[in-house]
C-alpha cells in the first residue's frame, strides 16, 4: 500500500449509550480502493462503528478521520469543536451509506430518489442529474424501473436503487450496514453482485455483513469485531480460514455451520 492518507482511520474510538459501552477503543485503517468487511456477532458494535464514520452517531473518545479530516469536528488547539451543520452536511455528502432496511424515500420514484440530493445538495444541473441517474440505474440492472415507487419494487431492487442513490453523490467512500440482512435469501445474490462490481471498479468500501462468502471473495481485509473491539484483522483467507483467536474461530464455525 503506497504511503498516502488513509481513506478512513480510527484511533481508539469509544462510544457508550449510558452504561452500555458499545465501542471500547476501535482502531482501523482503510486505504483508498480497499474493501474492508466487518464481521462479528450482533451487538458487537459493528453497525455503531459504521454510523460513527459518517457522524450519524457521535464519538465519545478517540479519533475518527476520513481522508485525514476528523468527522463532524475540527481540531482547534488540542480540542475538538463540533462543526457547523453546513460543514457536516458537506462531509457526509462525500460518504455514501447503504442501510439494512434500504430507507428509500417512499413518496418518490426510483429516479427521483436518485436525483434528489445531487440537485438539492450539490446543486447539479437537473437534466444532467437525471441523465446520470438513468445511467446508474442501468448499471445496477434497473433500467425501465425509473418511474416505479419503492413499494412496487422487490427488496433486492430497492436495495439496488439505494446503492445507486448513494453513488449518485459520487462518494469517495461507501459504507454498507448489513445490506442483505433484510432480504429474502434468493434476492441476496443480485445485491452482492452489484457490490462486487462496485468493488472491482475501485470504490473504497466498508461493509458490515454476515455474508462470509462475500467477505472471503471480495474483501481485501476482513476484521472480526467482538464486544466493541477489533479482535482480529487481516486478509480474508487468514481471518476466515485460519483464525488466530479462539473467539474468531468459534464465531466462524457457528456462522459456517
Amino acid at each position: 500500500m503506497p504511503d498516502t492518507t488513509p481513506a478512513m482511520r480510527a484511533e481508539g474510538v469509544h462510544k457508550s449509550y449510558g452504561d452500555l459501552h458499545v465501542l471500547r477503543g476501535v482502531d482501523m485503517d482503510v486505504h483508498a480502493g480497499q474493501v474492508v468487511c466487518l464481521i462479528g456477532p450482533s451487538g458487537s458494535g459493528k453497525s455503531t462503528f459504521l454510523r460513527c464514520v459518517n457522524h450519524l452517531e457521535t464519538v465519545d473518545a478517540g479519533r475518527l478521520l476520513v481522508f485525514g479530516e476528523p468527522v463532524g469536528y475540527r481540531e482547534e488547539r488540542g480540542v475538538l469543536r463540533e462543526l457547523p451543520n453546513r460543514e457536516i452536511c458537506r462531509r457526509r455528502s462525500e460518504i455514501g451509506m447503504v442501510f439494512q432496511r434500504f430507507n428509500l424515500f417512499s413518496h418518490m420514484t426510483a429516479i427521483e430518489n436518485l436525483v434528489e440530493a445531487p440537485i438539492r445538495v450539490l446543486k447539479r444541473d437537473k437534466e444532467q442529474a437525471f441523465e446520470e441517474a438513468r445511467e446508474l440505474l442501468d448499471r445496477v440492472g434497473l433500467s425501465g424501473k425509473e418511474h416505479c415507487y419503492p413499494s412496487a419494487l422487490s427488496g433486492g431492487q430497492q436495495q439496488r436503487v439505494a446503492i445507486a442513490r448513494s453513488l449518485a453523490m459520487r462518494p469517495k467512500l461507501m459504507l454498507f450496514d448489513e445490506p442483505t440482512s433484510a432480504l429474502d435469501p434468493e434476492l441476496v445474490g443480485e445485491v452482492l453482485a452489484v457490490m462486487r462490481d462496485l468493488a472491482e471498479s475501485g470504490m473504497t468500501m466498508i461493509v458490515v455483513t454476515h455474508e462470509i462468502g462475500f467477505a472471503r471473495e471480495v474483501a481485501d481485509v476482513v476484521s472480526f469485531m467482538d464486544h466493541g473491539l477489533i479482535v482480529e484483522s487481516g486478509p480474508g483467507e487468514q481471518v476466515l480460514g485460519n483464525p488466530e483467536h479462539a473467539r474468531t474461530r468459534e464465531f466462524i464455525s457457528k456462522v459456517l455451520a
Partner: protein, 311 residues
Amino acid sequence: MTADRGPGTGMPPPLRVLPRRGARRWRTAGAVVVAVLVAAILHSLWVNPRLDKQVVLNYLFRDLTLSGLAVTLYLTVLAMLFGIVGGTLLAVMRISKNRVLSTCANLYLWVFRGTPVLIQIIFWGYLGALYPRFDLGIPFTDVVFASVSTDILMTPMVAALLALGLNEAAYASEIVRAGILGVDRGQIEAASSLGMNTGQTLRRVILPQAMRSIIPPMGNEAITMLKTTALVSVIAGKDLLTNLQQVYSQNFQVIPLLIVASIWYMAVTSVLTLFQAFLERRYGRGTADVGSRGTAGRLFGIARWKGLKNA
C-alpha cells in the same frame, strides 16, 4: 388475467367465485329498510304544515344569507391557513433540540389550548378595554415613534381572524407533530447520509410523507372550524348563523332559518370533503390503496359497488 386461462391454454379454467350465501340478500334488505326510513323522515318534513318551505326558499339566497356565508367562508379559509402555517412552525419548534424553542411552543399550547376559544374571541374583540392604544417605541422608556388606537386596528373581522387562527395553530401543531413523528426514522438518516440539511430533510422528505397522516385530522379541523366561526357573533361578527339568528329573533321562523343555515353548512362541508379526498390522493403517491372510494363514497361513507366486490 382470465384471457390466458381456459381451454387450449394448458391452464385450468378460472373458478367462479360467488359471494357468501345470503350476503346479497341481507345487503338488499338492509338497503330497503334504510331507504324506507329516510323516505319516511323526509316525507314527514315535506308534508308538515308547521315547516314553512316557502320561508326556507325565500331566505336560501337572500343577500343577508349570502353575505353571512361569505364571512363564514372567509374566516374558515384564512383561520385554517393561519392555523396550518403556525401549527407547522409550532410542531417543528416542539420537536426541536433547542430548549428555548420547545419551551416557547409548549407555553403557547398551554395558553391557547387551556382557555375556551369563546373567551379568546371575546378577549381579542375587547382588547381595547385592556390596552386602549398601541405604541411603537423603545420598551421601558418614554420614546414613542407611532401610536394608534386599538379600536382602529382591532375591527371585529381582525379580532375574529386572530382569535380563530391563533387557537387553531395550537391544535394543528399537535396534528402536524403526530404526522412528523409517524415518519420512519430511517428516512431522516438516509437524508442525513446524503448530506441534506435539516430544512431540506423537513421540506423534501419528512413533511411530504407526514401529509398522509396529517390530512384526515386536518380535514376534521377545517370542517369544525366552519361551524366554530359562528362564535364570532359575540363580537358582532356577521357570519352565516349570526345573520340568520337575527332574522328568526324577529320573525320567529326558527326551524326554517336553521334549515337554511344547515343546507349551506352541509354544502360547504361537502366541498371540503372532496378537497380532502383530492389532497389524500395527491399525497398518497408511492403507497398502495388510498382512494378506492368514489365521490359519493367520500360524502356518505359508502364504498362503490365495485370496491365492495373486491374487498
